[in-house]
């Protein structure tokens, strides 16, 4: 699938406002931003343009590979006339809802379990083997099980999203809660903090710096989970659009749904970045944008 790949690679790095460069300078580091932007857009135009040319000249078969204009037409048609399962915004909303509900539950569970196990050595030792095994299960396959358990509606997708998000958050929360500065904990206790207060004022804020780094990845996984869940079996949603397009040998439909999914993921990622800035404003700025260990 050439298009979604290109789309993802070209749009993904763009929204990151270049972190202040540190260390050695490489060639091109001082190039003004507008030049970089122009190059980025130019590359996109060249790639899409050559694809379109190849399609128009019948060098590649549009029946299998589709074309940029075909994808565009499909998008416009969905927006104007709706999709087979219903209006486009409904499909987007369904997928977003599944991803969001699953994300919230998954994050809450992941943080809770991560902190609990990090603070309790016995539990950690007991559950270590289970967590390891569960982590090795190709979790996306659980989607099939969830469809059997919970049916074609919202619940089966939410369950799949929860499972995907949980593990990505859990390990970070576990590591973060183990990494809490002992000195800070002692200080809080000597200042008079109760166990709950130590948890709220020291352990959680400290863990949060680890978790927040995983949230962006986790939300990407949440969207993936929701779409894959819908691919496995659904009556609504962007995944269903992809499934139906695939069934109709309509590559443009698949691309169009993927573009919508990508935009959805990018918007969500932007929101999480805002949240991150706000929540981590006690840290020096250049650390906020870099990824966590």
């Amino acid at each position: 699938m050439p298009v979604p790949q290109q789309q993802a690679e070209i749009t993904a790095p763009a929204p990151v406002p270049g972190p202040p460069q540190r260390g050695r300078s490489r060639s091109g580091e001082n190039t003004p931003r507008w030049v970089v932007l122009t190059l980025q857009i130019g590359l996109l135009v060249v790639l899409l343009g050559s694809w379109q040319v190849l399609a128009d000249t019948k060098t590649i078969d549009t029946f299998f590979f589709g074309s940029p204009t075909g994808t565009w037409d499909q998008l416009i048609s969905w927006i104007q006339h709706g999709t087979p399962p219903g209006p486009l915004q409904d499909q987007i909303w369904v997928t977003f809802q599944e991803a969001l509900i699953g994300f919230v539950i998954g994050v809450a569970l992941g943080v809770f379990c991560g902190v609990l196990l990090a603070r309790n050595a016995l539990l950690a030792r007991v559950f270590k083997v289970y967590i390891g095994v569960m982590n090795s299960v190709p979790r996306i396959v659980l989607g099939s099980v969830f469809v059997i358990w919970f049916g074609l509606g919202l619940k089966s997708k939410v369950a799949l999203v929860v499972v995907l998000v949980f593990f990505s958050v859990f390990f970070n929360a576990f590591q973060g809660a183990r990494d809490v500065d002992r000195g800070l904990e002692s200080n809080a206790r000597i200042l008079g903090a109760s166990r709950t207060e130590v948890m709220l004022h020291v352990v959680l804020p400290s863990t949060f710096t680890w978790i927040i780094a995983s949230l962006r990845i986790a939300f990407g996984l949440a969207i993936t989970g929701a779409v894959v869940g819908e691919l496995i079996g659904a009556t609504q949603g962007l995944g269903l659009l992809i499934y139906e397009a695939q069934g109709n040998f309509d590559p443009d439909g698949v691309y169009a749904a993927l573009i919508i999914t990508t935009v959805l993921a990018l918007v969500a990622e932007g929101l999480i970045t805002l949240l991150e800035r706000r929540a981590l404003r006690w840290r020096p700025q250049h650390l906020n944008l870099g990824s966590e260990p």
């Binding site: 500065d181 002692s186 200080n187 809080a188 004022h201 804020p205 020096p284």
Partner: protein
Amino acid sequence: MRSFTAGPDLPATADPAPLLTLNGLVKRHADPSGELRTVVDSFDLTVPPGEFCVLIGPTGCGKSTVLSMICGTTRPSDGRILADGAVLAGTDPRTGFVFQTDAVFPWKTVLANVAAGPRFRGAGKKESAQRARDWIRRVGLSGFEEHFPYQLSGGMRKRVALAQTMINGPRILLLDEPFSGLDAQTRQIMSGELLGLWESLRATVVMVTHDLEEAIALADRVVVLTAGPASVKKEFVIDLPRPRRIQEIRFHPRFAELHEEIWSTLSDEVQIAYARSTAAG
């Protein structure tokens, strides 16, 4: 440089500083190989109410462990710690501790950091903030209330740490090399300001350091410890007049005498510790 401004006198209800007694304290740790290692051994010390007592010993002799046992974060393997004759077990509300490393909460503003103690101890939000503002002013950080620790210099963070501890009005104040990591000038200034705070607070102080000049300049009594396991080797009364000015006290003729006297005792221990550390690689 400005010095700490004296605040309102202690409330009349404040308890007097207690007499602190350490009775045959022992601490053993299991080291990584599982072998028991004695870090502190039959440690006896009596600190009269309101005295500024400094423990000095070579690096790694276990003096910090003594402090953490007094503040209740480490449990002694044997022996007792008494405040006015009553056993002091666990963290006690009368105790304040200033850490060697930065122990201010990086995710809290200066105001929230200083107000943390009263909040933890059940004071209202408004009252805590008001008291915190007062202490922030007293340590000379007015205008920095909404700053985060990363935006402050090392010396300023130390001031936050002092205010954070002092706001609770500790009757026993423990200081674990509080000014290590600061440059020499900042150290001197902070020592002077610490003295000012102590004089207004009248707490019983136990401070740990390995800087002999700092020890003599601040203390009523300097206790030299042995090079691990820590026990008391010899005590010296510092009969320099008070109130002292840190920058000037070093030129007092008695200062040099005391320095020489204590150093002759301390240097043996320092050499033992040094020989050990080089032998261990």
